[in-house]
Symmetry: C2
Subunit: 387 residues, 2 copies
Amino acid sequence: MTGVFFEIKYRSRHSLARVGRLLTRHGPVDTPVFMLVGTQGAVKSVSKEDLEDAGVQILLANTYHLYLRPGHEVIKRLGGLHKFMNWPHSILTDSGGFQVYSLAKLREVTEEGVVFQSHLDGSRHFIGPDEAMTIQMALGSDIMMALDECVPYPCEYAYVRRSVDLTTSWAKRCAAYRGRGRGAVFGIVQGGMYPDLRQRSAEALIQMDFDGYAIGGLSVGEDRETRAEMIKVVRELLPDHKPVYLMGVGTPEDLVEAVFLGVDMFDCVMPTRNARNGTLFTRKGKISIKNARYVDDDRPVDEDCDCYTCRNYSRAYLRHLFMAKELLVYRLNTIHNITFYMDLMEDIRQAIREERLDSFRKKFYENQDRGENASGGTYEAGLEANL
Amino acid sequence: MTGVFFEIKYRSRHSLARVGRLLTRHGPVDTPVFMLVGTQGAVKSVSKEDLEDAGVQILLANTYHLYLRPGHEVIKRLGGLHKFMNWPHSILTDSGGFQVYSLAKLREVTEEGVVFQSHLDGSRHFIGPDEAMTIQMALGSDIMMALDECVPYPCEYAYVRRSVDLTTSWAKRCAAYRGRGRGAVFGIVQGGMYPDLRQRSAEALIQMDFDGYAIGGLSVGEDRETRAEMIKVVRELLPDHKPVYLMGVGTPEDLVEAVFLGVDMFDCVMPTRNARNGTLFTRKGKISIKNARYVDDDRPVDEDCDCYTCRNYSRAYLRHLFMAKELLVYRLNTIHNITFYMDLMEDIRQAIREERLDSFRKKFYENQDRGENASGGTYEAGLEANL
């Protein structure tokens, strides 16, 4: 099997929402799916079993990080990323582009690609579209992303237009790798916050017949309305039988909203990074475990959650561990947050299948206001960089 | 049930080594036993299941740390330390004394106890023998340690002599708590490196009929011969039917040697702290996982180890995670090292029962020299403070 097989199981009659199944050579992925980020070949603090217990079917790994350390050639010699990290399920790799722009130093972007300095040791490197695909093939990725240029926000029209054309020309080279490895190749629509450039980008990529399409360059500081507009403009053009992936998004609210617009795939560091910062998601909004009110609270984080953490540990214990900077807490918090995200996506899929996504959304927002943070608002915008 | 029940199952015909079973109200503990340190109510980075899988039956928790944070009253309200930290097996707590001397600031030692400043926030506290026992009872400890004074090394005779008498007078107060809680109470023999003071301390404590006896104030920088001499002087005097606990020891070599001298219990941060520093124990000596030679080594840490880490991950992956400071590596390394220590103790118990402890020791040292560190010596002295 090469590429991916995408089957749509159910289409909502009231919105673009749909339930599907993505099949890679490492197994099925139920969509809409939220992909956890395993930046350097590990989802920070948790094991394979922790991920499986939460229902995780696919991880995102960062090409830039693995290229620099330990190096894609090392991973290839060791049998590929799946074997290296002991993850027998699906893996999507990004192109490395986003981290080159957000982490690396002294970047120089040309028609050929990007010259940059490693954030680790300052060494000089070049990644062009061919290199991006070669690295991802060496890793043995199930879904490879085309190299794109990520523009800053805000950004002038003329610059974004040139950038879209560069991304298009790189995408052409990347599309040529479809079928050369065993992984699928997705194109990435750019275009900043300019509807006509989003359209220009999408139309060009569609000609290249990718296995799936990503919407990149969002969740960079724009307001929710603009983001929704950009998603709609692009989504309308994309072939309906292919998976649509909204990159770097987002909060639970973001996911609920984007599913209505016909998005099938998401990724974000929010559940894992928040866990390490002591912010835990619950069905009644999020809580900060370091709050003094939890000092002798013997309840679980979320009384409706069945994760390992909620079954075995109290808020009081988690607070104690967090205040004491005990390593165990990062794993316990992460297990809870990833379970929350996986449960949310399962609830969304079920709501779509049962034609009650509208009432699900209504109840979701109501519940957010019923928790301990009722006065403190719910989720902040999903502006975190995808590191 | 109050206190502990200690049964000696087998006595070596060739040395003081013996195999026993300590029964607390939280279950059996096979001796000789190495106790892992769960300083702040958690063994750093690992879960209850990780510990159980390695065969752990008892943990040591630090009274000083838990008294300061979250506070023994909080833990008592939440049902005790076992419930708080989700550890249904045995727990031994130290008296807090060692950390007061090694961590706290502005100590003032009087007949009544120790005034000290918290290393966390500088707040002033007092712990005397009654306070030490009250705190340990609030925690719900299975084995409580009497408060002692730990003298520096080296230390003048006159000071140590006065200190032994202080420890003796505190021990008297602590012994009065036998039967008042449900935990056992152990006395701690001090006396620096002076055989007659060790004798003086031991004889006084024996009069108080503790549930068990610890040898404290060793592994503080003395040479191995001196340490062995101190153990022998004390061990000879102690009642043979009670458990003997050598505090803060040690390396695998230390354990093998002390078992010959009739020691039943040990504790040390070595396996867990070394794990976090990337030093892993193997049957062929220890290795430093950050060594470049492991960059594409697809073997497990120890080919004769059956732990979760060795069954699932390569040295190359552990090295990568360690270099990338990925949180997962602390747990994976710790699981391996604690399994190594638990396996070592099980091997020792079996060797005693089968009257082949001598040949076990011989083979143990031979194997140490056959590994990758053959030229680099084996274990360094177990000088690490018990933090």
